[in-house]
């Protein structure tokens, strides 16, 4: 069975970026690859202005693993909003 993926918003602590990375996008990508076997998890957006972090399609296990990583503040499942 293929594990279901859902979109998660990953909040990162900008100041916690390890020195080995040249920029935050690189760090976000590496963080994503580290929790995703075969790099199956896909990044949707990298945010820079209103949020430090990214959104990605993750399995529940990958989201859980991500939440435990150094520099990750929160991993929130995507929410649906409706027009008023």
């Amino acid at each position: 069975a293929v594990e279901q993926r859902a979109t998660y918003i990953v909040h990162m602590a900008k100041s916690a970026m390890p020195a080995e990375y040249a920029d935050h996008g690189e760090w976000y990508g590496a963080s994503l690859r580290s929790v995703s076997a075969g790099s199956a998890a896909k990044m949707l957006y990298a945010y820079d202005t209103v949020l430090h972090g990214f959104s990605a399609r993750l399995t529940a296990q990958e989201a859980s693993d991500m939440a435990c990583m150094e520099g990750v503040l929160a991993v929130n499942p995507e929410a649906r909003y409706e027009l008023h």
Partner: protein, 660 residues
């Protein structure tokens, strides 16, 4: 918007209160919605100066949308669909455009309401005719399409907000919401926090789940939360019954009229094969029992306009759409596909009673056009979501109400005015209702204020809008609630109805900055990680030695919550709740005196000091209010108002008391 500028006092001579050039065009209102129909005359850029050099927005090309669609009015158009397509699968580009193109109409309506250019001879089938214009007609518009046919996903919303703030928008307008969620998990609240930090005012709709209590969305204190009210315009339609009785409703139907001779009238519940037949849901009416007749349908569950389509599909000749108790007497007009009238709960009950009691009931419907100077107005819309604030009861929400019922503004060329697939009509303007419509009114007014006071913070702008809002009609009687017909409360309208002509000169403001909001989060006992998730920085920390109080957030309103001491529904002793506020002078020198009025039994209020004297602009003065209450049963509420006045300015704050 052919009427709201006049209703708000910013038409004619009222326009002179705000800059007409220069800084007026330096404000860009970013609208996160369903996109834009750039061919609408509401985006005509005649007379506008060059786009400011600091603007970083982009006009993204895509399906049926060229990058040349932008101009000096529509200065940016982007779309964000990665989250949507990841969740819903690849979109059907026959149904929706992978571009900023508005396939729905909602985004074109909201953005033109906020800052659309003036368009003469605007109307919907002749209804509401006049010159349509945004509240800030000289401001620029940038659209960020984050909502699609299947909804608005938070990953796309955040991407839109990220771009809008980075592009240089001064005001963001979001007519969307989810349920009430903790701020650290609410993407709109998180995006709005960063926007606020970068001096961007974020205006959001309160939601349409009224009149039930505690139904608000977008309640973060750094968001301006906007409820909806009516304006002084109506679209009457008359239902004449065979017994000689006439009832007044509303309608925007513009096709072939019913014959002069009365037609048989039936109640949907009696001509249906469904137990919920009264609601005129698709496929539930029996054509043999409906053909050639007027059908009474009850409001609820399905879209109002869809009920008309269902009646027409079942060969009905007309429809009376009856409110239920939940909607009360509020009348929302729709561009129905057949002769139809929406009527209030009382009228609906009377009509249904006639249909049930007369062996051969008959009726006819007469559409009567547009009426203005309707009073009382404004009335709080029944659908407008209400307080108390479920996330933080100590913050009174909504902040304010603005026109949101039967609003005419620009529309998409891709969909008819009802939005139904079966509606093949195409219109340049449409009339719709919702807090989605009131929100961009406030967004546009905020842009106007920003052009007049570019140095004010988002909190100062909101404070000006709130403390000058009115909660009573010109004769002095309090604003009414359409849901009940009774007096409305601050849980319904917040500070009151927006009054931009007074907001431009508020005298004093309650200002707030990032550190104040972080202190607020500390008072909520947020962990450092949660604060960092909201505020994007680990540099913000709570001081363990400091006592934080939610009530001390320098908010322009007061929500005083008494928590039950005994857990048995009673408070055993008098309790004092203390709130501290700081006022900043944005007017001339003046001596302000405080006055309070409240209708809450067993409450005593003490303001210290009772006088504040300001000698220079920017000067700050603090005061403390002690609210002392004797025991009250849990669930009791009370309301009041605190006003600082120098004889010229009245700086008013609503007060809500809750015993819980």
């Amino acid at each position: 918007t052919t009427r709201t500028p006049e209703f708000l006092g910013i038409a004619g001579s009222g326009q002179g209160l705000f800059p007409q050039s220069g800084t007026a065009g330096d404000v860009v209102v970013g609208v996160l919605d369903t996109g834009v129909w750039p061919e609408s005359k509401s985006y005509d850029d005649t007379g506008l100066a060059e786009v400011p050099s600091w603007w970083k927005g982009e006009c993204m090309a895509g399906t049926a949308f060229n990058s040349s669609a932008c101009n000096r009015k529509l200065v940016g158009a982007r779309f964000f669909n990665k989250g949507y397509e990841a969740a819903m699968g690849r979109m059907d580009t026959d149904r929706e455009s992978r571009s900023p193109r508005d396939d729905d109409g909602h985004g074109t309506h909201t953005s033109s309401t906020a800052a659309g250019a003036a368009v003469s001879d605007a109307s919907l089938f002749g209804f509401a005719s006049g010159t349509a214009r945004g509240m800030a007609p000289k401001a620029r518009v940038a659209v960020y399409k984050v909502c699609w046919l299947g909804g608005c996903l938070s990953s796309d919303i955040l991407a839109g907000m990220d771009a809008a703030v980075s592009d240089g928008c001064g005001v963001l307008s979001l007519s969307l919401g989810g349920g009430a969620a903790d701020y650290a998990r609410d993407s709109v609240a998180i995006g709005a926090f960063a926007a606020m930090e970068q001096n961007v005012l974020v205006s959001c709709s309160a939601g349409n789940t009224g009149p039930g209590s505690s139904t608000l969305s977008n309640v973060a204190p750094w968001i301006t939360t906007v409820g909806a009210g009516t304006l002084d315009r109506d679209f009457p339609a008359y239902v004449a019954l065979g017994n000689g009785k006439n009832y007044t409703g509303v309608s925007l139907y513009a096709g072939k009229a019913l014959p002069n001779t009365p037609l048989p009238i039936v109640y949907a519940a009696n001509v249906s094969n469904s137990t919920a037949g009264n609601l005129c849901m698709p496929g539930t009416l029996t054509p043999e029992k409906v053909a050639g007749k007027i059908v009474v349908c009850d409001r609820g569950v399905s879209a109002r306009v869809q009920k008309g389509f269902v009646v027409r599909d079942a060969l009905g000749a007309g429809m009376v759409l009856a409110n239920t108790a939940a909607n009360g007497q509020e009348l929302v007009a729709d561009a129905h596909l057949l002769p139809a009238a929406g009527v209030g709960d009382r009228e609906g009950t009377a009509i249904k009673s006639y249909v049930a009691s007369d062996p051969n009931p008959t009726a006819t419907i007469v559409i009567a056009g547009t009426h203005v100077d309707v009073h009382p107005s404004p009335v709080v819309a029944a659908f407008s979501s209400r307080g108390p604030n479920m996330v933080t009861p100590e913050i009174l929400k909504p902040d304010i109400i603005a026109p949101g019922v039967n609003i005419l503004a620009a529309w998409t060329g891709k969909a008819g005015p009802t939005g139904l697939v079966a509606d093949t009509r195409r219109v340049g303007f449409n009339i719709i209702s919702g807090t989605s419509m009131s929100c961009p009114h406030v967004s546009g007014l905020a842009a106007l204020l920003r052009s007049a006071h570019p140095e004010w913070s988002p909190a100062a702008l909101r404070s000006a809008l709130m403390t000058t809002a009115y909660a009573a009609y010109s004769g002095g009687s309090p604003l009414l609630d359409a849901a009940t017909g009774a007096t409305a409360t601050p849980f319904d309208y917040g500070a009151g109805h927006v009054d931009p002509a007074r907001a431009v000169d508020p005298g004093l403001v309650y200002d707030l900055g990032t550190r104040d909001y972080v202190d607020f989060l500390c008072a909520l006992k947020y962990s450092s990680t949660m604060i960092a998730a909201v505020a994007r920085s680990r540099e913000y920390a709570c001081d363990e030695k400091k006592t934080y109080s939610v009530g001390n957030l320098n908010y322009p309103s007061f929500s005083v919550v008494y928590y039950t001491a005994n857990g048995d529904g009673s408070n055993s002793a008098a309790t004092t709740v203390t709130h501290t506020r700081t006022l900043t002078n944005v007017g001339g020198p003046g001596k302000y005196k405080v006055s309070t009025a409240f209708a809450a039994k067993g409450v005593a209020m003490d303001v210290e000091p009772a006088e504040l004297e300001f000698t220079s602009v920017g000067e700050k003065k603090s005061y403390t209010v002690r609210f002392t209450s004797k025991s009250q049963p849990s669930g009791t509420t009370g309301f009041g108002r605190l006003v600082w006045s120098d004889g010229k300015h009245n700086v008013a704050s609503p007060i809500a008391f809750t015993w819980t």
